[in-house]
């Protein structure tokens, strides 16, 4: 143990005197982590969209159920998801899209409020208002993004308008049912209502002589009124279902309902942990050989196993410290479950040890610092990529292969353990931790075999 202690001190001294290496080791994963974190949690910036409102000021109003609404209120809903560049003409908007200054353009034609009014008023020949969307087709990804953003926002605006109309319709039906006043041609009109009509009919039927021929006819009208009263009571629910005919109920079968931003933190921290530990362990072990000190050390001063353990401990401790600092920093942006800190600290520590074992195996195989670093880097990227491939995105057989390959490396179980604990999902992490322990032993044993080749 004493030998390991002095080697640890030595390696820390060497690291302290290699500022470029330290900066690279720390800055690179932090940069990667933050990029991933922000990319997944922050989402894209609002796309810049050129906006032309051809409706003259003051002419954008329409009436719904006696209440005056402004079309601009609904247009504003579009701007919650896009950054509008307001221009005056369609040509200007098209030029902005062509030049790339705007991802797309949205044009509200001059007749839009008029068409809306005709549709709501059910007067003349009602026509639905149409807005125009223009975007560049040069980049399919960009096109899809703009298309989907604008369509989503238009759909929301449509839904809001539909809800207003539904509400007005329901109010009208309520007046027909229970009676009341409605505005018609700028004057109040009193409506009797079906309920009251049925009562009136019953009263009238009661006054008619038994043999009156009107009695049966009026009873039919009274039954119709009562039937309408009974069924129109359901009108609110029916209209609501027309406004939103399908509701979505989500059930997660496997995994956790982790918010995307919290999952991004787990990914960012795991990526950083992997890069620092693997690169450091591989590089520092290869350095012993490059400095020709390996032979001197293992001829009785320390055992090969102790030397490997020292590199694992060194890299794991450095990466663990960095990962904890990273979690703390990311907690400024995303909510982290501090109550489950013992869990995610254990996940970080065991993950770091397993990555350290992988690192020394790489260092023992490569033997030179540059080769070890390159190999560590080349191996780490696909490991992370494979672990993030979602089920269903590839064929079942290929996904099974990916699952097996991912299970051979510490990235997947570390991410799983972190995801479960950082987000306070209440799920056990015993499985991933046991997986990491097995991987640490397996990669350590492989490194021990490989290091026999060191001279």
């Amino acid at each position: 143990m004493s030998g390991i202690r002095w080697l640890l001190v030595k390696d820390l001294q060497i690291l302290r005197r290699s500022p470029l290496l330290v900066v690279l080791l720390v800055a690179y994963p932090v940069l990667v982590a933050l990029l991933i974190g922000f990319a997944l949690s922050g989402g894209p910036e609002k796309p810049r969209v050129a906006f032309v409102n051809e409706v003259p000021p003051g002419e954008g109003t329409f009436n719904v159920g006696g209440e005056t609404r402004d079309a601009a209120d609904y247009a504003d809903r579009l701007f919650e998801a896009v950054e509008p560049i307001r221009v005056d003409t369609r040509e200007e908007a098209v030029e902005l899209v062509r030049s790339g200054d705007a991802l797309g353009a949205l044009i509200i034609p001059r007749d839009a409020p008029e068409r809306l009014r005709s549709m709501l008023g059910l007067t003349g020949d009602p026509k639905r208002p149409t807005v125009e969307v223009i975007y560049n087709g040069e980049d399919p990804l960009k096109q899809s993004f703009v298309e989907s953003t604008i369509e989503t926002q238009l759909s929301r605006a449509n839904q809001a308008l539909s809800q207003e109309i539904t509400k007005v319709g329901a109010d009208y039906l309520d007046i027909i049912l229970r009676g009341g006043e409605i505005d018609l041609f700028l004057q109040k009109v009193r409506v009797l209502g079906l309920q009251r009509a049925a009562e009136v009919l019953r009263e009238v039927i009661g006054t008619l002589p038994d043999g009156s021929p009107y009695r049966d006819q009026l009873r039919q009208v009274e039954r119709f009124a009562q039937l309408a009263v009974d069924n129109l009571d359901l009108s609110d629910a029916i209209l609501a279902s027309i406004a939103e005919p399908v509701q979505v109920k989500q059930t997660v079968l496997d995994g956790s309902r982790t918010p995307l931003d919290a999952f991004a933190v787990a990914i960012a921290v795991t990526v950083s942990l992997m890069f620092v530990t693997v690169l450091l362990a591989a590089g520092m072990l290869a350095l012993e050989r490059e400095e020709h000190a390996f032979g001197r050390l293992v001829r009785g001063l320390v055992t090969r196993s102790a030397l490997l353990a020292e590199k694992m401990v060194l890299s794991a401790l450095c990466a663990f410290g960095l990962a904890v600092a990273l979690v703390a920093a990311l907690s400024l942006f995303v909510e982290i479950s501090w109550s489950s800190a013992p869990g995610w600290l254990a996940a970080l520590l065991l993950g770091a040890v397993a990555f350290g074992a992988l690192g020394v195996a790489i260092g023992a195989a490569a033997r030179e610092v540059r080769a070890a670093s390159l190999l560590a880097f080349l191996l780490s990227l696909p490991i992370a990529f494979l672990a993030l491939v979602p089920s269903g995105s590839v064929g079942p057989a290929l996904y099974d292969v990916i699952q097996v390959v991912s299970a051979l490396f510490p990235f997947d179980p570390t991410l799983e353990a972190l995801d479960r604990t950082l987000n306070d999902g209440g799920q056990s992490i015993a499985g991933p931790l046991a997986h990491l322990a097995v991987l640490a032993v397996a990669w350590g044993a492989l490194a021990r075999v490989a290091v026999r080749r060191f001279g």
Partner: protein
Amino acid sequence: MIAATELTKRYGAREALRAVSFSAEPGERLAVIGPNGAGKTTLLSILGGLLAPTSGTVSTDVREVGWVPQQTAVYGKLSVAENLRLFARLEGVGDVEAAVRRALDDTGLAERADDELSSLSGGNRQRVNIAIGLLADPPVLLLDEPSSALDPRHRQRVWELLDRKAASGTTIIFATHDLAEAARHADRLLVLAEGELLFSGTPEELETAVGPAKDFEAAFVQYLEERGH
């Protein structure tokens, strides 16, 4: 004293060392010479505990043997004193600071103690390399081509140091290609060729065996060729 008995090392079908036996007394300077691939480094590696022999024994415990590899086995990012301190601690030396001071004095590097090793010349680095081998004051010191790649001035300093250690009772065993150096600084020579011990004796005895010649090196090559090497 160190004694090797019937040391054999095989790598698959190839025999790197064939039943080599010899012994060296305290204070004796023993040079192992021979052409490339003769088995010199293999022999020293077995004596130093870096390699296990396929068969045969070495009388001395590896902890009583100091090891100076051919390439400087030190850390470039540490200072001279830090390198010495590290290996003194790993060797389990009782008084680490005293051992470091002694090594610095022995090698004449006291003034460079705080210099980073990577800033030293090749000669000075080799002196540190040797100093590390001497830290635990071992009864036997093994050196693999200690003066190769050194200029004459540094070479002279290294040999002065080794001669002093031998005078104080340390057994010095070194491998070299340089016949003149071996003859000058060794009390006895072991000639190896293709893993086989061809000769063991003083430099004068080797000269006699090789035969009188103006060019000793050429005569030595001829001597090896006559024996099938």
